[in-house]
């Protein structure tokens, strides 16, 4: 009993701190505005959102607060009496409420004295403080917040009671539904091999139709996501499959972009190659650079490899920028007027056309990545990534396969780089900074190491999500960071972890054997 109340207080403190923090950075105003926009009643530029929308947003947080404490880990079963739950919810809600009350009194009083808080906290205007206080005096506003917090938390705790008692019923309904669907036509559909073809067809149809509806902005964003899928698939082969931690992956992206640019741009070399020829050149040059760089550095393992490749990524960027290569790469100015794609003499530079091109490239890369992963090469990589020495001892030519991984990974990056340069019709050294390597590595990890669908999801999460979150304006990165933290807590192995088909679920070893070596060994001492 004592521990569960402590737990409620702790929970209340966390919610109190979080809400005060959100109020201090002005996020409550943004959240309320968004809510209002969602119900079709957008807020004017200068006015504040309505009090009701603030209550709805805070209400959700308070309900969650009560819900969380209503049933906690220490309870053996879900059968906690209603009285206990109400007590717990009330404790949590009152704790949070106290925070809000103190906050309202302090900030409200300062505001009443006419001090402009924006000097210290740029979003904490007099208006937003009044908004938090429902345009009442600090004491009255604070008490409203306090009362609302306590009441909503109790409601949350009671709701959790109903949800818990409803859980078993829901489960039995679910079971019946699954059994029914297996028996009826749905079951037949599920096992029919043609279903996957139909699904692929639908996806392809969507990929053809959707870019026409999106408009230039979303095509640009999704194009970037597509290019990052290419990069992710390439790095996934190097890091996820063959297990070589390469941190300078951006180098291959840069080499692809620059070799494409140098052979198509009018300045400085005026070669003006055809788009498709240039694309092939870019991919080949990148793959070759992967091999050349791999020859010396793949003898290194682990941390050393990571550091050396990290340096390599920076060296390429600095070289591109340097005075020394200025006549060849135009230094920091970068390369302009890079060719767009042409087909049968017709140019197609429009955003929709380019989106199709990127989709094609991604599909090709997905196909290659999938085929390679399932081949003997993929198995050799898997062995190398787990234990290089043992892989060698079983006859795997580890050096060759590591080089191959780097070459394929670099080729994917080169393709991505060429498309990137062609789409922007410009590329410069600042397109190829360390952050690109880090972003790609992050998307591979967030998606799930060694998992192809994981890479696609990771690219959407890391490159697409920040764009979707643009509505939140300057709070974009805050929410993005919070989502990443939640993601890593809920799915520590990535959004879509790699599955090993013929592996059963892990079991603990049945008979633990300890280090009981026969006494004879140590006899020499």
């Amino acid at each position: 009993m004592k521990t569960s109340l402590q737990n409620s207080v702790r929970n209340g403190v966390v919610f109190g701190v979080v809400i005060v923090f959100l109020a201090l950075i002005g996020f409550l105003v943004i959240a309320a505005s968004l809510l209002q926009k969602m119900v079709g009643n957008p807020v004017g530029l200068t006015s504040m959102p309505s009090a009701a929308s603030l209550l709805v947003f805070l209400g959700f947080l308070h309900l969650w607060n009560g819900w969380r404490v209503s049933h906690n880990k220490e309870d053996i079963d879900t059968n906690v009496p209603l009285k206990t739950r109400i007590l717990r919810g009330l404790t949590a809600g009152v704790t949070t409420g106290l925070f809000l009350l103190v906050y309202a009194l302090v900030v409200g009083t300062i505001n009443e004295r006419g001090v402009d808080m924006r000097v210290y906290l740029s979003m904490l205007s007099s208006q937003s403080i009044d908004f938090f206080l429902f345009n009442q005096s600090p004491l009255v506003g604070g008490l409203i917040q306090f009362g609302f917090s306590a009441a909503a938390a109790v409601v949350g705790a009671v709701l959790a009671k109903f949800a818990d008692s409803g859980k078993d019923k829901v489960k039995s309904i679910q079971k019946a539904a699954v059994a029914w669907s297996d028996k009826s036509w749905l079951g037949k559909v599920k096992t029919n091999p043609y279903v996957s073809y139909v699904l692929i067809g639908v996806v392809l149809l969507l990929l053809v139709l959707v870019p026409r509806q999106w408009g230039a902005y979303w095509n640009y964003i999704m194009g970037t996501v597509g290019i990052y899928v290419l990069l992710g698939l390439g790095l996934n082969i190097i890091v996820g499959l063959s297990g070589q931690l390469v941190l300078g992956y951006v180098a291959f992206f840069a080499i692809g972009a620059y070799s494409f640019a140098l052979v198509t741009a009018p300045d400085p070399h005026n070669l003006q190659f055809n788009f498709w020829i240039a694309l092939v050149i870019a991919v080949l040059v990148s793959a070759l650079s992967g091999v050349l760089i791999g020859l010396p550095i793949l003898r290194l393992r682990g941390d050393y490899l990571a550091i050396v490749t990290l340096g390599f990524g920076e060296i390429i960027r600095i070289l591109l920028k340097s005075d020394w290569l200025k006549d060849f790469t135009l230094g920091p100015r970068g390369l302009r007027n890079i060719a767009g794609p042409t087909l049968f003499g017709r140019e197609f530079i429009g955003d929709i056309d380019f989106m199709y091109l990127i989709i094609l490239a991604v599909l090709l890369a997905l196909f290659i990545a999938r085929r390679v992963q399932d081949s003997t090469v993929g198995r050799a990589w898997l062995a190398i990534s787990q234990d290089e020495t043992v892989a060698q001892a079983t006859g795997v030519d580890t050096y060759k396969y590591k080089l191959l991984a780097l070459a394929i990974g670099a080729a994917f990056a080169g393709l991505g780089g060429a498309l990137f340069a062609s789409r922007n019709q410009f590329t410069g050294p600042e397109d190829h900074v360390l952050m690109v390597s880090i972003n790609v590595l992050c998307l591979v990890i967030v998606g799930g190491m060694g998992s192809i669908p994981g890479v696609v999801l990771g690219a959407f999460a890391l490159k697409g999500l920040p764009e979707i979150l643009r509505e939140l304006e300057s709070y974009r990165l805050l929410v993005f960071g919070a989502l990443l933290v939640v993601m890593m807590i809920l799915r520590p192995e990535g959004l879509w972890p790699a599955k090993r088909p013929n592996l059963e679920v892990k079991q603990p070893p049945p008979e633990p054997e300890t280090d009981t070596r026969p006494a004879a060994i140590g006899g020499g001492s």
Partner: protein, 236 residues
């Protein structure tokens, strides 16, 4: 002579790990390399399978020089190294580990019969066939490591410390299996700290000390040797 090692010198950076080691193996023998930690036993094995670079000296396998052959080609010649510390692929299933053992052969039909033979020899592995290697017990992992080695059809099997970290009863089992493998025609070079066990199944033995061979002879003679008894057999 099946394997002939002459005056082998190996360095790890500045450390002189093998200082002129020589030994021989005849077809069908079990030969044990014994000695304390850091004597150079494992390094000798790694030199034979090309997992370390040899500075000077010669290795001949059935008359062919072996020192410049890369490790994957050593495997193809039928020399299979089972590394110390029950090194298996932890995130592969038992079956996949065995597949890796047959990596150099790539013959699906032979694989099925070979795997069946392994499951006959190691029934525990059959029960665990779909489990990942990392979840096996210590003894099972050692069995899997040996089975993986056998999948490559070794003519010469290099076993590095098969008793390491295992309970005495499991060690007995493993050594029975080693003797059995030898009886069926595989020559075995065995590295062991457990000198008692190693000499009990070996035909001949070499005693290594700080990178040199200090004693060699028939296993029975070595067992009787007072120096060996004092230093490696616990003085009884």
């Amino acid at each position: 002579m099946m394997l002939e090692v002459n005056d082998l010198n190996v360095y790890y950076g500045a450390i002189h790990a093998l200082k002129g080691v020589s030994f021989q193996l005849k077809e069908g023998e079990i030969v044990a390399l014994i000695g304390a930690n850091g004597a150079g036993k494992s390094t000798s094995l790694k030199a034979v399978s090309s997992l370390v670079k040899v500075r000077s000296g010669e290795i001949f396998y059935r008359g062919e020089p072996l020192t410049t052959v890369p490790p994957q080609d050593v495997v193809k010649k039928g020399i299979i190294h089972v590394p110390e510390g029950r090194k298996i692929f932890p995130r592969m299933s038992v079956v996949e580990n065995l597949e890796m053992g047959a990596y150099v052969h790539d013959n699906r039909d032979a694989f099925e019969t070979d795997m069946e033979a392994m499951f006959e020899r190691f029934p525990r592995l059959r029960e665990r066939r779909k489990q990942s290697g990392g979840t096996l017990s210590g003894g099972e992992q050692q069995m899997l490591a040996i089975a993986r080695g056998l999948m490559a059809h070794p003519q010469l099997l290099l076993l590095d410390e098969p008793s390491m970290g295992l309970a005495p009863i499991i060690v007995e089992q493993i050594f029975d299996i080693i003797r059995d493998i030898n009886k069926q025609g595989t020559t075995i070079l065995l590295v062991e700290q457990n000198a008692q066990m190693a000499l009990s199944i070996a035909d001949r033995g070499y005693v290594l000390e700080t990178g040199r061979v200090v004693l060699e002879g028939k296993a029975d003679d070595l067992m009787e040797n007072p120096v060996v008894q004092e230093a490696y057999l616990g003085g009884h």
